[in-house]
Structure formats: C-alpha cells, structure tokens
C-alpha cells in the first residue's frame, strides 16, 4: 500500500511548479473511540510537504475527528503519529500550533465578540514576544511589535480581499465572509500545514471559486501543506493532489483524484452513481 502511494505521488507532481516533498506527517494505525462510538478505526496515511491532501467521506465518517487527531484536540487510543519523523507524545493543541499547524473549523469558530482585525491578530499570537507589562504601557516595544505584526496581518487581509470589513465585529458578518476570516486567522500564523474543515460549505460557486484560488495561491506561493475536507467533489477532484476516503471510521480509498473517483468502494459509499 505504502509503495503504491509513493508511486502515485511521483506521477502527480508537477502542476504549477510545486515540488511535493518529504512526508511530514505520518499517521499509523490510528484508532479513536468515544465510549461505544468508533470514530476512527485503524487508519494509516501520510501527508507530504507542499501537497494538497483531501479527506472525503460520508457524514459521520470521521473526517473532522481525523483533523482533531492531527492537531491534538483528540487523543487517539491507539496508533502513532510521526511529525517530521519524530513520534509525538502527549499532544496539546497549542503545541500543534507551535509546530506550525493551523486550521479552520467546520462550525465556524471565530471569536464572536472581536473585530475581524483582532481575530486575525490572534493568529499571530505565537509569534509575539511582549508580555503583559509591555502591553500595559503600550509604548515602545509593545507598540513596535504590534505594528510589525499588524503589517503581516494586513498582507493577509489584502491577500484575502477583506479590507473593507477590517473593523467589523465578526458576529455580524455573513457566513461566507466569516469562513474567509477564519482562513485569514489561520494564515496569519504563517503555518507550514493548514487544516481546512469544509471551508466551502454554504458558499455559492462564485465564492467557492474564490476560495479555491486562495487555497491554491497559499499552497503555491508559500508552499503550505494543505489538508482539506470538502463535500464538493468538483473542488476536491480539481485541486487535490491525493485524496483519502473514509467511511464509518475506516479508510476505504487513498490515492490521486482520478484513481479515487473510479474506486468502486468509494462510489458505493460516498459518491453515488449520479457523478
């Protein structure tokens, strides 16, 4: 199985001049249970640097749980995770953040009481060095730091074209823009790996097109590795390098889009015949 994957990757490299690199995250035999519910059963797959890796599967298959395992929100009962070859121990979400893993959420998890700008600034939290006492005065060091990071954040804002809503409280924004702000927050952390949980749900085609372009650009320009969960097969098949298919917590397919699309198990469990 592993050998097979490698071969596929090699063949799909190319498009847009991106170089798909080494495996940075290797998941081995992951199992996750909640009481009696088996969310994930013995799942193994890997993620390579710079690739766009999609996870698809029917509702309740365990996709979101998979992301939660990757960034340490859930702790699998069994299995091993290697990050850049190092086995992970005792993972907490903020450690994942420190390793450069950022993410967006299926049910938008923005900070509702804050403005767009503040939300995105929180993304830079890990990169800020000043402490409470600097902040209390807000002169000198703290202000310089704030401005420096503000510049970075403005870049992200420009990139995602959300200049006009900078100072709006996020709670009042329409759904699609909230998703975009969430992406901005994740990008502000300059992640090496970006986990996106249904970033395009509830968007129309036009907006999906925009979102795809952002994802591709991020991947292209910064070489960010992307893990994507999405139900729109058009999107998934068009932009992913490799796709993992889950069903009822089990892996039923893994490979480049074309291969997955034609996998009979996948068709039966997920795609249905109409596609």
């Amino acid at each position: 199985m592993m050998m097979n994957d490698m071969a596929n990757v090699a063949s799909s490299t190319g498009g847009g001049g991106r170089r798909i690199g080494e495996v940075i995250l290797d998941l081995k035999n992951i199992s996750l249970r909640f009481g009696g519910v088996k969310a994930l059963t013995d799942i193994s797959f890997d993620i390579r640097e710079h690739e766009i890796r999609s996870i698809i599967g029917p509702n309740g298959a365990g996709k979101s749980s998979m992301l939660n395992v990757i960034n340490g929100v859930y702790h699998p009962q069994e299995g091993q995770i290697l990050f850049r070859g190092e086995p992970r121990q005792k993972m907490e979400p903020h450690m994942a953040a420190a390793q450069g893993i950022a993410r967006t959420f299926q049910n938008i998890a923005l900070f509702k009481g804050m403005t767009v700008l503040d939300n995105i600034m929180t993304g830079r939290n890990l990169k800020m060095k000043c402490n409470l006492f600097h902040h209390a005065l807000f002169f000198g060091k703290a202000q310089r730091e704030e401005i420096e990071h503000r510049k970075k954040v403005e870049e992200v804002i420009d990139f995602l074209e959300i200049q006009s809503i900078r100072k709006t409280p996020v709670g009042r924004l329409p759904y699609g823009l909230q998703k975009r702000v969430e992406l901005a927050r994740a990008l502000a952390a300059e992640p090496t790996m970006l986990l996106l949980d249904e970033p395009m749900a509830g968007m129309n085609v036009e907006e999906k097109q925009d979102m795809c372009r952002f994802i591709l650009d991020v991947n292209d320009q910064f070489g960010t590795t992307i893990v994507l969960i999405e139900h729109d097969m058009g999107v998934v098949m068009d932009i992913s390098d490799r796709v993992v298919v889950l069903d009822y917590g089990k892996k039923i397919g893994d490979g480049p889009p074309d291969e997955v699309k034609n996998n009979p198990d996948v068709i039966a469990a997920y795609l249905g015949t109409s596609h």
């Binding site: 939660n68 959420f105 049910n107 998890a109």
Partner: protein
Amino acid sequence: MGFFFEVLIGGLLSGVLYALVALGFVLIYKASGVFNFAQGAMVFFAALTFVGFQEVLPGWTGLEPGSIAVFWMAFVLALASMVVLGILTEKVVLRPLVNQPHITLFMATIGLTFLVEGIAQAIWGNHVRGLDLGIADEPIEWVLDSADIIVSKFDVFAATLAGILVASLALFFQYTKVGRALRAVADDHQAALSIGIPLQHIWAIVWAVAGFVALVAGLIWGARSGVQFALTFTALKALPVLILGGFTSVPGAIVGGLIIGASEKLAEVYIGPFVGGGIEGWFPYMLALLFLLVRPEGLFGEKHIDRV
C-alpha cells in the same frame, strides 16, 4: 460513635432541606438555561404571602385563626400568588429577553430579586413572624430512647416531602413531552422557537412550578427559623448543593444536598474546633469546588459540549 451518627443524620436531614431550595434553581435552569438568582427571594415571597394570608384571612372570612381551613386557604392563595408571579415574570422579564446571553438573563433575575423583595415587604410589612405547620420539631422518641440519637420529626417530614417532590419532578422532566420541551429550550431558545415550542407557556409553567417549590421550601424553612428576610439566604445554602449535584439534575439536587449537609456538619464538629469554627459558611463551597475539579459539570449535570 453515637455522637458521630447523630451529627451525620442531622446533617443528612439538613441537606435535604437545602436540596428543597436547590430544586427551584434546577427547575428554572433546566428549562431556560437561566440561573435564577431570585429563587431565594421567591422563597421569602412565598412564605411571607402565606403567613400574610394566614393573618388576614380570619378577618376577611370570620374563620377561626389557626384553623385547618385557614391554613389551606392561605396555602391556595399563596400558591396562586406564586403562579401569578411566575406568569408575570415570563411576560415582563423573560419574553423581551429571549435569546439573550445567559449573563443578561441572570442579571435580569437579580433585578427581579429586588422587585420581589420590595413587593413582598411593601404588601405584608417586614416584621418577623412565626409559622407553625403543626409538626413538632422534636426528637422521635423511640429513636432517642433506643439509640440516644436525635432525629427530628419535623426534619423527617420535610425530607419525605422533598423526596416526593424530587421524584415526581425527575419523572416529569425525563418522560413527558413538556419535560422534553423544557430541556430543549434550555439548549437553544431560537431552535425551540423555530419548531413551535411556545417559550411563553413553557416558561410560565416552569416559573409557576418553581414558585410552588419555593412555597414548599418557604413553609419548611419558615417554620424552622421564622418568616423573615433571612429566608432569602437559604439560597446561599442551596448553591453548593446545586453545583455539586449539577445544575441540570433533579436527583442531583438531593444527592448533592445529602453530601453537603452531612459533610458540612461533620466538618464543623470535627475540623471546626482546630481552626476556630464557623467554617460552615465556606466549607460547602470548597467541598463542591473539589468535586468540580474532578467532574466540572457536577455529579449528575449535563456535560458541557465543547466540540470543534
């Protein structure tokens, strides 16, 4: 050893009385997600209304003061007042605040506290009254004789009453349509509205039931320590019970009450002397805090669902 049991049993019985007050909180929390700060004031209001009617009824009707008839008439009138209070609360306070953050509703119930206290005292005056339920607060003799342990008749009566209330409310919440709707409302006001649950009725019902529970608690506590403003403080005894048992659990109120009651009394007797006593004020809270560290939603409370 006899002394130990005496303290233990006394504590358990007191605990049930705390549970009686806690129950009112649970009801309203379960049905609207609101922490009803006014519960203590409602206990006071109920008891005061009851004795108030007891005082004026003989004059109105010519019945013998202290007769059974007066008792029950006063009870019915007080209950009616509590129902009216519940309905008004829904109309005036809650309805305009649907779907607001819980802290806002919490604050509104604080406003309600002042309102209820003010109204109660404006109507009935603020002097202290006695209240006699006709059940003597004295030891059950055969227990005293055989084991030399004091078990008060009154406390046993109160505990039985509390037990019946708790059992019936627990069944109501778990198995009836309205009970289910109540729990739904607590989770999401707006979604409840969207499927046609009439929040207004539901809340009016719950507040009325909470009013009834407050009346029972008010009578029991009023009989123990007089009908006076201090009845509002019974809430302070109920709060640790509440968090220990879980805000959302009716049986939790009883279990929490038993644990708090027994341990606070034992602590006062066995630990108190070493630190100068008077630890009953904070000990239950500390104890509850320790429990919460292990189970943050209380023993029987609903888990806080926190998913991404």
